[in-house]
Each structure stands twice: as structure tokens, then as C-alpha cells.
Amino acid sequence: MMRRRVLRVLRCALLAATLAGLVWPAPVLAATGATLASLGSPSSGDLVEHPAQWDGKVIDFQGEAVGEVMRRGDSAWLHLNDDAYSRKAADDIALAGYNAGQAVWAPSELAAQVKICGDYSHRGDLVHVVGIFHAACPEHGGDMDIHAVKLEVVLPGSPIARAVSGVRAAAAAALSLVAAGLWLLWRRRHRARGRAA
């Protein structure tokens, strides 16, 4: 009896310790006094392939804002894709290539400049940031990110108009008709068999 109680207390303590461990604030990165002189403008591919080389350095980075700007208090997360899509001509709505990009942590007032984020029906703002690259950001759970100190919208995004293809509409109608016909036939056979059984 006693042993079971001890075990229960131990178990509760373990759970409490876990919870405490989880909410314990991660050590916040000391405010960096880094100068704003950028040391280069690597692509996200360069950063992912050679994180150690760029870690802690001030860099230039440019890409299409996608998804949304997620505000967290006085800073915000945004994600900039620098893949082929972001480098296309403004009126080109075709898809372009694999996804690549970087997460950017920026003060909210800077991030507020980003108005349109890329998704199915939008081409996002093309955003240029200057900031410090972290291969494994100690402030953000080891995520790879860029802490922006400067941010500007280079090219505003725009909605993408998507026309409905006439050929596809016709194909859809024709196939639906055939499918409906087969279904009716199937149902009649099915019912007839049900009566027979």
C-alpha cells in the first residue's frame, strides 16, 4: 500500500517536473550590438547547406512572403520563399519550382509593411530584409531563422486571377453524365438482385 503511494507521488513529481521544464523560459539571446554592415546575400540554399559559415552573421535576404505574418506580441514571424516562383516576372502566374525559403523574425512594426502573403490566390509581397542569421536560434528552440533589423517591400504582391478552363468544364460535365448513368444502371441491377434474394 505504502509502496504504491510512494510510486504515485513519484509519478506526480515527474509530471510536474516535465511541465515545469517545458514552460521554463529559454535563455534569451542578448541584444546583439552587431553592426548593420551585411556580409553577403546568400540564398536559402546556401544557408541550409552551409549554416556554420553564416551563423551569427548579418546578411541580406530577399523572398516572397508566403502564408501569413504571425504576430507574437511586439515581434512577428514571416516566411520568405526565395525559390524560382519569387523571381518570376510580375504578370507570370504559372508555377515555377520547388519550395525553398527562410523563416524571419522581425519587429511587428516592420512586419506590418507586408500586406499580401503568397497563397493559392495571391502572389505575395517580395520582401527584402537585413538581419542576423542563426543556424540554430537559441531564442527560438533551435530553429534556423533570420532576425531582421531592416525590412522593406521591394515589389508589392497581387491577387492571381484564375480562369476556369472551358475544356475542363466540358470534360467534367461529360464524365459526370457517364458516371451518373453507370450509377443508375448499377442501382437498378442492385435492387433487382435484392428483390430476387
Binding site: 515527474l14 509530471l15 517536473a17 516535465t18 521544464g21 517545458l22
Partner: protein, 44 residues
């Protein structure tokens, strides 16, 4: 549902209790993971 599968309020309570139990199992796993990380970070 066809075949007469109805879920009562009592069932729901049991399901919720089951779900909580499973969440506790995950918490214990996470605790072990965290403990390993803490020890590793202290040692390195």
C-alpha cells in the same frame, strides 16, 4: 449509423478518460526525452 452503433454520454466520458490516459503516456515519454537532453547539455 446503420447497424445500430450509438454512443452514449457515458461512453464519451470513458473515451475522454482514455484519451487523457494516453496523453499522460506521451508526457512521460517527453519527460524522459527532456531528462536525457538536460543531462547531455550538462555534460557537454
Amino acid at each position: 449509423m446503420k447497424g445500430g452503433y450509438s454512443v452514449t454520454l457515458r461512453d464519451l466520458r470513458r473515451y475522454a478518460a482514455g484519451m487523457l490516459g494516453e496523453a499522460c503516456y506521451v508526457l512521460v515519454l517527453a519527460a524522459v526525452g527532456l531528462a536525457i537532453a538536460v543531462v547531455a547539455a550538462l555534460l557537454s
